[in-house]
Amino acid sequence: MSQVDPLLSNQTKNQAEGRHPRPSATLRARQDQAARRAFFIFTLLPVLLILFITVALFFRSWPIISEYGLSDLLFGQVWKPNKGLFGFWPFILGTVWVTVVGVVLAVPLCILASIYLAEYAHTKTRSFAKPILDLLAAIPPVVYGVWGLLAIVPFVDDVLAPLSTRWLGSISIFSVNQPTGFNILSAGIVLAVMIAPLIISVMYEIFSTVLNDLRHASLAVGATQWQTIRNVVLPQVGPGILAAIVLGASRALGETIAVLMVVGNIPQIPTSIFDSAYPLPALIANNYGEMMSIPLYDAALLSAALVLLVVILIFNILSIIVLQRMTRKK
């Protein structure tokens, strides 16, 4: 397997071929060189695409960033484009609330489910669960949105909100201040289900990097399976679990259609999970039509996309590097 820089090795190979004037061999080798170069250019595409997306969005956002300054945009409280006020803060908070609720709901379920699949389940259960998770991952966001609208919003409104009023009303993040189920909790539940397949499959992968010898060493002294998981398996996979959670969170951050269908879309600073919110992706999607009608509006929306992109890039790169390291150890 070639480990050398492809361009560098071209030269050395070409020199070597000078000494072997077998025509057909040279021709084939030349083809090989040409193909190598062509292929190499193809692999530049994904790397360049990331840069290109970032630069393009930055370029388009520059008019508003240079006029208002980044901190005024990010921490501005008021969003009134026709008066020239572009404050992202309520939307940023909305995104954070929705993401945190989704992740908090998904993570315990995902950790438990993936431990079960990796440590306890028989092959049969696994081969039953895998396609279910795949299907769950394949369902389009808009269908999740419909489901949220038809099932989750009424459920939150009719069941969870009254329960919360009754038992948790005194705690401010659980207080019910709005009459509908279009709120952060609904969006969080929908998001939790959407990101669960990804988190579970990444965590499952991580658990299977732990050597069986270690499990057996613990079982051999009479530990129960849970004691073995708790004391031997979990300490080994900490960073991987964290990476899986961050990866899930970054998916939740960018989810657009499904969230915007159930979250209420009221630009306010939320104080409770029963409040409506207006996350950044929803802001972009809802207003794309008027983008060109007001000065700087397009730049504002594209800089919202840029903010989202930068945060997600950071989350993604960190967690993927951790995961690549862990799975390669195997």
Binding site: H122, T123, L211, D213, L214, H216, A217, S218, L219, A220, V221, G222, A223, T224, Q227, N231, V232, P235, Q236
Partner: protein
């Protein structure tokens, strides 16, 4: 003979393949029993039925009985973790747990809540590291990760870890096959020292080790026990053709 383990009509299947065929043997108390035979003959499988480790493989099936101190460890009322506490295992490859040297020995005792306080645990850890002949080498770095030890030291640590839960039986699945000659010898001499207090069952594929360690010998071939008896009898006067052939190095 004072039998510690009795195996009665034992059959084991991996899926449809039969790994053990109608095994009936007795393993004497406080002696070293050596199970030998060509690879794939089921000796490791037999060993792993003694601590119910073979169950960790999926699609296995077992009929018959394995009695430890006269009690069938496959009885429905049996708690498998109690079995594994009484029947310790020294694995083929040393597998220190990913924690400190101290914690490796502490681990099993802690799991079974065997001691009252830190002082007792500390004393016990020292005691078992001494028995395993490791104390002098590690007492200054008890809190270093166990993986920092050499392979031979790791295997002795695993021995200490196994002994710390006060088993009555020690199983060894080719416990020296991953070690260098000096470390192997070290482990062998530990096992010889310990045989007064523990019933030891060792699987080995080297005849010389069998001769050095064995008080009692079981010879297996294709999932069946061909011959079992005191070492001097089996080695000097094998009753079965196959055993003879094996001892002469034909298999």
């Amino acid at each position: 003979m004072d039998a510690h383990i009795q195996v009665k009509n034992l059959n084991v299947y991996y899926g449809k393949q039969q790994a053990l065929k109608n095994v009936n043997i007795e393993i004497p108390k406080n002696q070293i029993t050596v199970i030998m035979g060509p690879s794939g003959c089921g000796k490791t499988t037999l060993l792993k039925t003694f601590n119910r480790f073979f169950e960790l493989t999926e699609n296995t099936q077992l009929t018959g009985e394995v009695l430890v101190d006269g009690q069938n460890i496959y009885d429905a009322s049996v708690d498998v973790t109690e079995v594994r506490k009484v029947v310790g295992l020294l694995a083929q490859r040393p597998s220190p747990l990913p924690m400190s040297i101290y914690d490796n020995v502490f681990y099993g005792m802690h799991i079974h809540k065997m001691k009252k306080d830190r002082k007792e645990y500390k004393a016990a850890v020292q005691h078992y590291l001494e028995i395993a002949g490791l104390w002098d080498e590690v007492h200054k770095r008890l809190h270093d990760p166990a993986t920092s030890l050499s392979i031979g030291q790791q295997q002795r640590l695993c021995l200490a870890r196994g002994l710390a839960v006060e088993p009555e039986i020690i199983l060894g699945d080719e416990p020296t096959s991953a070690l260098d000659p000096i470390s192997s010898q070290n482990i062998e001499s530990r096992l010889l020292e310990l045989k007064q207090q523990y019933t030891t069952v060792i699987v080995t594929h080297t005849l010389r080790q069998a001769k050095r360690l064995g008080d009692y010998v079981i010879y297996m071939y294709l999932g069946e026990v061909i011959e079992a008896g005191p070492a001097h009898e089996v080695f000097n006067n094998p009753q079965h053709e196959r055993t003879k052939a094996y001892l002469e190095g034909q298999i």
